[in-house]
Symmetry: C2
Subunit: 327 residues, 2 copies
């Protein structure tokens, strides 16, 4: 089979690529070709057991989506997006990339792949929900996003479902939790500290905490996120009926629980590298974010969270990113 990853240069895209290269198959089918696309040319993995093509392409550019489909992919992972902060700061850019780009992709699939609808796995976001919230947000909760990013994701979910209902494609939208621990450098995302307070102390650096320890949020490890994507690509979509979008499982933990887990896994010396530096702007943004979900539907459909407690999330990070060692 031919697999296409759109947004392959991002963190999740790179981890998904590595997993597909390691597995050499998706579900029960062998992978025969892999195409990696992003705004900048994604890196081609070494020693892949199948041909890998990498291309720089902007899906929102006219004709680009049609070009991407020439190789008739069987499975398309659509991970490409302008992130939340940027979509909020630059309204036109967010609309163009997150909404118009996805629409162009879906329309190109409809036009170019009629009769052979590919599986389309779309990464949506818990940002489709907006406060005030119930204690645990069910899949049946309405979408009242409080950001343009969340609005654009919610619209893409609706398009994905309708294009699937009409048989133009075979779509599934998965709302990922906040991914923790995100590897790499600190970034300016308002959510960055959830990873930063773990990642930086484990690297021997100071981790800044801009909010109170009572703040609760919804997390999943990169390992789990990749597992969700693989499962979404291989699930029998008949089991979804016409409800093609769903919230993925996660762990609902407070910052205090994150810190306690870090202390248990890496010791007081590491946990002591967290520095409290309250930032009222970030605190206010985070106030509007979801804290907890009831992801019962995803669980019944076989989406499995690999971590049982936040300690596991930290251990996965140490194993996958730090070669098992803590500074």
């Amino acid at each position: 089979m031919h697999v296409l990853i759109l947004g392959a240069a991002g963190m999740i895209g790179r981890k998904l690529t590595a997993r597909l290269v390691a597995d050499a198959s998706l579900g029960r089918r062998a992978i025969e070709r892999l195409t990696l696309i992003d705004i900048a040319t994604p890196q081609v993995p070494a020693r892949a057991p199948f041909p890998v093509a990498a291309e720089a392409c902007d899906v929102a550019a006219p004709g680009a989506a049609e070009q991407m489909l020439i190789g008739k992919p069987d499975v398309i992972f659509h991970l490409a997006a302008i992130v939340s902060g940027e979509a909020e700061a630059d309204f036109d850019k967010g609309l163009r990339s997150n909404l118009d780009g996805t629409r162009r992709l879906l329309d190109a699939i409809r036009g170019e792949m009629a009769g052979h609808p590919p599986r389309v796995v779309f990464t949506s976001s818990i940002a489709v929900f907006g406060a005030p919230f119930p204690d645990a947000i069910p899949d049946s909760y309405h979408h009242t996003p409080l950001t343009s990013y969340g609005t654009q994701k919610a619209i893409c979910e609706l398009l994905l479902a309708d294009y699937s209902r009409r048989g133009f494609l075979d779509g599934i939208g998965i709302r990922l939790p906040t991914i923790c621990v995100r590897p790499g450098k600190p970034n300016k995302a308002a959510s960055g500290f959830f990873s930063g307070i773990i990642r930086e102390p484990l690297n021997g650096e100071e981790g800044l905490l801009p909010v109170g320890e009572g703040v609760r949020h919804w997390h999943a490890s990169p390992r789990s996120a990749v597992g969700f994507l693989i499962h979404a690509a291989t699930i029998d979509t008949g089991s979804l009926a016409d409800r093609r979008n769903l919230t993925m499982p996660g762990l609902s933990v407070t910052v205090a629980e994150q810190i306690a887990a870090l202390r248990r896994v890496a010791g007081e010396r590491v946990a002591g590298r967290i520095r409290r530096e309250p930032d009222p702007v970030i605190a206010r943004i985070v106030e509007g974010w979801p804290r907890n979900f009831d992801a019962e539907r995803a669980g019944k459909l076989g989406f499995t969270l690999l971590e049982r407690e936040f300690d596991d999330i930290i251990r996965f990070h140490i194993d996958d990113e730090l070669g098992g060692r803590v500074s």
Copy 2:
């Protein structure tokens, strides 16, 4: 103030126009100008106490929306849409009119009216919801439309809310119940019989009933619908916070209850003109439709249903459309 009605030639548009001409004001402000727009030139009402312009224009045509805004309307009623059946039969036409047309309108407002955001009253639909349903659908229920029409309306709701949140306009989306009794000729809409079994017998004609009498649905009179539009145009939108779209009040009644009401209001002779002609296709379509809502939020915000029971809906029709007489 200057009021613009987009979709003014439709049934609701005509009734809204008549109401504005009769009132000569909207809320506490006098109407100074009224502009009526539709695909075909709307009729200009006689004896309006203010200038009325009527134009044929397709909001989905490039540049058309900008042209409409030259007169800087203070309030825009956006009622224009391809109906459900047509949007399902012709996917491209529905997308173009119901989604792209609305997007063009919102973008034109953003571009042309910066600093003077108009009130935009958008008629959404209960078709944003899709079965299976709870007994009474709350405002907090998710949007999983089962038609392209419902998908397009749900997307426009999301855009309306985000453009409002950003201050580009001051939007409110109202999900109208099925309007009953629709005046005029029978049409081919799957929902047509809900009005037809009342309207045709009252006209001395046979009314066809294609479904069982146990079918329950959600109705409001044209009078109530116009009242909702007026209230939406004049409400303090601060009370909506960022949740700009809401389900309007209605009556949840079964077909048997409709028929019993017709018998009470117009007698056995009229009710006897209903002919059962089961149509499994229509029965299956209607199976997926909402039956009942909890419109508590709209009630608290002052949206008032004028009818207390289905008998009132029939009486309004007799008064407004039949000069008080039954054949």
